[in-house]
């Protein structure tokens, strides 16, 4: 019945007039490619539905990764530690809202935050912080869920893991 084009994963998570656009993987991939300072944020669900492998593929393309919650353990289990760092997502978001923040590498804040494998409600709240207070950061979600607080996001696809994985592949192909 809803005239939302897409309902959020938490049914009640309707933040307001500005809600993320459901975006094709190719377009999201191009957005990431085009970003000057992208950051891939991998959360505590990263080991589900094959996301960790996709994250590593993205990392291998040179996009730095932040592993939040306990995700760093999953990367270490996979033996991938090249450009992955542990950081608390809450703290990271706090830093990102400051345009002057120096970034994890000291080279400045990020212009694009890409979310993958996060805890839904936790990530959604923190995306909201960026949406409302950090106009200098573009929030993209390639998670399994529709994220209304992202600017562009996948639709809800958590019930179709295979389809989701091929969407991620499409994203990666663009980077």
């Amino acid at each position: 019945m809803a005239e939302l084009k897409m309902a959020p994963f938490d049914a009640a998570n309707i933040p307001g007039p500005k809600m993320g656009r459901v975006t094709a993987p190719v377009v999201l991939g191009k957005m990431i490619k085009r970003a000057k300072r992208p950051l891939l944020i991998c959360g505590s669900e990263i080991s589900e539905d094959g996301m960790i492998d996709k994250a590593i593929e993205i990392g291998k393309k040179g996009i730095p990764i932040v592993a939040t919650g306990n995700a760093i353990n999953r990367f270490m289990e996979k033996g991938y530690t090249d450009n992955v760092k542990y950081f608390s997502l809450h703290e990271l978001t706090n830093c990102m809202r400051d345009p002057e923040w120096k970034g994890l590498d000291g080279n400045g804040n990020y212009d694009t935050a890409i979310y993958l494998g996060t805890l839904y409600y936790y990530a959604s709240g923190l995306m909201s912080a960026l949406k409302n207070f950090a106009p200098h950061v573009t929030v993209l979600s390639i998670d399994r869920y529709y994220h209304p607080n992202a600017v562009m996001t996948f639709g809800d696809i958590w019930r179709k893991p295979e389809e989701y994985q091929s969407m991620l592949d499409e994203v990666i192909a663009q980077i």
Partner: protein, 798 residues
């Protein structure tokens, strides 16, 4: 002429008159000078604002809006997205501060309102309040640290808390006023007001617990007996009365009625939430059935023959839920009356008749003295009626439901934790109940899933069934200590030095509600991890209860394996939510008893002491309620950092520090007024952790303090490094920020760490002397006396 002091007095010849010395003109109360009055007795909202601004500079509010619009007045709705302003001119950031203040208002009012309500009950039950002494035994001289600290009052009797409550109430209303459309425009000033509300909250809790302890003679101090805890301990052979809520007086009346009539063999009293804890302080016969997260399941498992609810944290649909399993409900508080009839004047047997017949689903009884008889007789009569039916789903029904599930996912998107109930049903239909049963602990029992199920599957019941089949409910039996309330002055004296020296690395306070992201095991893990490392673990509320749900290989809970002394490795059930005032109190007492600071009306100085010296960290892993907001905010103002679980971002505001901004971490040296960089300690004031693996090292980190001695710092650092390695696979990035010299390094790993400092961070090491030559940004000076308050500088350097 005799010196008059504040208090309540009789007048000779006027038997029915009492007078209270209320106000002295022109000077402060000449109450027997137990201590000189500090600068801010009974502070109003602007009086501690300078302290707040110090905190807010270091820990500026971070907002994560849950909603981008406001609809609080008829000029709205207003779209505030992107920090826009509403029609009243308020911006999104200030609006978030406003909502935080609102949450703290509700939380603080719950505590203070409960305290006031009990004050009336106690007067009704016990008589003159000034005849009930505040005296918790020879081990406690500083009886009410928050009351002394905030109001300047040293209470002698329960009656002395009346002006304290009035102070709280007046100031709650002042702050509520500030919520009106067109008031505060600054997020920072909203947060200063929220701090004030949080401080009032802490005070209200202290009052509430002190008066119930005094009136009902709750036992105090360590070595409390072990009590039964868990759904499995409920003895359904007896008639079961389930008490839920936060206000113990009605429950004490039930206890009295049972014991006065020798009905112990017939009646089992089980409690949920704080009423459980508090009534078990009154009578060890009361079993603690569960904390918040199990509430709906206890009800729906049909375990109770009579439910008595009072206030707070009780299902708003308790009548409807209880009706499903034929349990009548007694509402024993005016805050929660469910459109039922107030029956206080009526004959108890008539009331019981109406309830037993099912004519009414429940009644209201506002006089706690009326509750015991009705509840007991009701349970007795309901037992044979209800006992004829099993309230757990039959195997057939369960199978039918599991098979009817279409895996549509409606339940999952309604579920606060996104639990994949559909997968559970799918497996269960194939006969494998394990996934379904595993949901039992993760589920918070909210019931949102079942109302959106298009197949009308009673999901709460299918989860119960699966758990039951796996024995999870019957075997949910553990031991919890009876709550012990305040910490002894002697204990404070004993731990003062070890706390400062770091042989006790900190005080860990798991407090609050059961909205855990991943079940109760996390809670157990927090308590276990820190207790085993020698921290003092003080628990209250739901976390105190849920910790007792898990056992070690020997089948023992932490309460059995650890003492409940306020000392290294203690695991202490402090008490209910209002009891967590005693945790504040412990930090204040460290300042007062150990460090000899005057606490009377001296909030700023003591908070300054705590934030610089007392390595305490709270955790509210399942923070759910508005009380958790006000509790945490009260800790914040006092200088105690708090970690919340991931749901905590829904409170919208956090206070995080920026370790990369060196300018934020200077304090004065009180000796000479020099500004000294101390590093990011404690780094955050309140922060949400995403997972337990993130939470544990973070808490260890938040126990660092500016005044740590090298011995203390090295032990704290050991745990910080170790917990990172254990839970996040590596040493943390930022550990060098906490190293002020080689003496800060853990003895056992000094070599390894020095090596790292040299190779990874480029510090210069004198390997012969095993000394750091160059590197640390923080200096340590053994006589350094850190403070944030310019007025505490003793000799200002020119």
């Amino acid at each position: 002429m005799e010196k008059i002091k504040a208090g309540i007095f009789d007048i000779e010849g006027l038997e029915n008159v009492k007078i209270e010395i209320k106000e002295m003109m022109g000077e402060k109360m000449p109450e027997k000078e137990w201590a000189p009055m500090g600068p801010t007795p009974m502070p109003k909202m602007a009086d501690l604002r300078e302290w707040d601004r110090l905190l807010l500079k270091r820990y500026p509010p971070f907002y994560a809006p849950q909603c981008d619009v406001c609809a609080l007045c008829t000029m709205g709705k207003c779209d505030l997205t992107g920090n826009k302003k509403g029609a009243c001119g308020i911006r999104m950031d200030a609006m978030q501060g406003r909502i935080v203040l609102l949450a703290c208002l509700v939380g603080c009012s719950a505590h203070a309102g409960h305290g006031r309500h009990m004050m009336h009950d106690i007067k009704h039950i016990k008589g003159d309040l000034d005849k009930i002494p505040i005296d918790f035994g020879p081990e406690i001289n500083v009886e009410a640290p928050l009351t002394r600290l905030i109001t300047g009052i040293k209470p002698k009797t329960v009656a002395d808390f009346e002006p304290v409550l009035s102070y709280i109430e007046e100031n709650i209303v002042q702050l509520a006023d500030a919520l009106h459309t067109g008031q505060e425009g600054s997020a920072l000033d909203f947060e200063s007001k929220a701090y004030q509300m949080g401080m009032l909250d802490s005070l209200g809790k202290e009052v509430a617990d002190m008066i119930q302890m005094a009136a009902f003679k709750f036992p105090v101090g360590p070595d409390r007996p072990l009590l039964d805890m868990g759904m499995g301990t409920i003895d359904t052979e007896k008639a079961v009365i389930l008490v839920i809520g936060h206000n113990a007086p009605p429950a004490t009346n039930i206890c009295d009625y049972v014991s006065d009539n020798g009905l112990e063999d017939e009646i089992d009293i089980a409690g949920i939430c704080c009423t459980a804890i508090d009534s078990s302080r009154y009578s060890v016969k009361v079993k603690i059935a569960a904390a918040l997260g199990r509430q709906l399941r206890v009800v729906r498992a049909g375990l109770a023959d009579c439910i008595v609810v009072d206030e707070q944290c009780i299902r708003a649909d308790i009548i409807e839920q209880a009706q499903k399993v034929g349990t009548p409900v007694i509402c024993a508080n005016d805050k929660k009356m469910h459109n039922l009839e107030i029956r206080d004047g009526d004959d108890p047997d008539e009331i019981v008749k109406d309830l037993v017949s099912g004519d009414v689903p429940g009644v209201v009884l506002l006089d706690p003295l009326n509750v015991g008889e009705v509840a007991v007789k009701l349970a007795q009569q309901m037992k044979p009626i209800r006992g004829k039916k099993s309230w757990i789903l039959s195997d057939e029904d369960f199978k039918k439901y599991a098979e009817s599930c279409t895996q549509c996912g409606n339940c999952t998107v309604a579920c606060p934790n996104g639990i994949r109930i559909g997968d559970g049903h799918e497996l269960a239909a194939e006969g494998d109940l394990s996934l379904m049963a595993s949901h039992f602990d993760i589920c918070i029992g909210c019931g949102k899933c079942e109302q959106v199920c298009p197949q009308n599957i009673p999901i709460v019941d299918t989860v119960i069934k699966a758990a039951y089949m796996k024995g999870l409910i019957q075997n949910e039996k553990g031991k919890i200590r009876q709550a012990r309330g305040p910490i002894f002055d002697t204990e404070i004296r004993n731990v003062g030095a070890p706390l400062v020296l770091g042989t006790i690395p900190g005080i860990i306070a798991p407090v609050g509600c059961g909205n855990y992201p991943n079940g109760t095991h996390d809670v157990y893990l927090i308590a276990k991890e820190f207790a085993e490392r020698g921290y003092i673990v003080c628990l209250t509320g739901c976390m105190a209860m849920d910790t007792a749900l898990w056992k070690d290989e020997d089948g023992k809970t932490l309460y059995e394996t650890h003492p409940d002394t306020f000392d290294r490795g203690g695991v202490i059930n402090i008490g209910s939510c209002v009891s967590n005032a005693h945790i504040h109190d412990a930090t204040i007492k460290v300042a007062n008893i150990f460090a000899q600071r005057n606490i009377r009306g001296n909030y700023e100085e003591i908070a300054d002491y705590v934030i610089n010296r007392v390595g305490a960290c709270g955790v509210s892993w399942g923070a759910m309620s508005q009380k958790a907001a006000s509790i945490a905010t009260g800790f914040q103002r006092l200088g105690v950092p708090v970690v919340v679980g991931p749901h905590g971002v829904k409170y919208r505001r956090a206070f995080m520090g920026r370790k990369d901004k060196k300018e934020d971490w200077y304090v004065y040296d009180a000796r000479n007024g020099e500004k000294v960089y101390v590093g990011p300690v404690p780094e955050h004031s309140i922060i949400a952790a995403e997972t337990i693996e993130e939470c544990l090292p973070l808490m260890a980190k938040l126990c660092f303090r500016a005044a740590d001695t090298p011995a203390g710092r090295s032990i704290k650092l050991t745990h910080y490094m170790d917990l990172n390695k254990k839970y996040l696979g590596a040493y943390p990035d930022d550990w060098t920020m906490f190293v002020r010299g080689e003496t800060d390094l853990p003895m056992a790993k000094k070599g390894e760490f020095l090596q790292m400092l040299e190779s990874d961070y480029g510090w210069k090491i004198d390997w012969k002397a095993k000394k750091i030559l160059e590197g640390p940004t923080v200096k340590y000076d053994p006589s350094f006396d850190p403070t944030n308050l310019a007025r505490l500088i003793r000799h200002k350097k020119e």
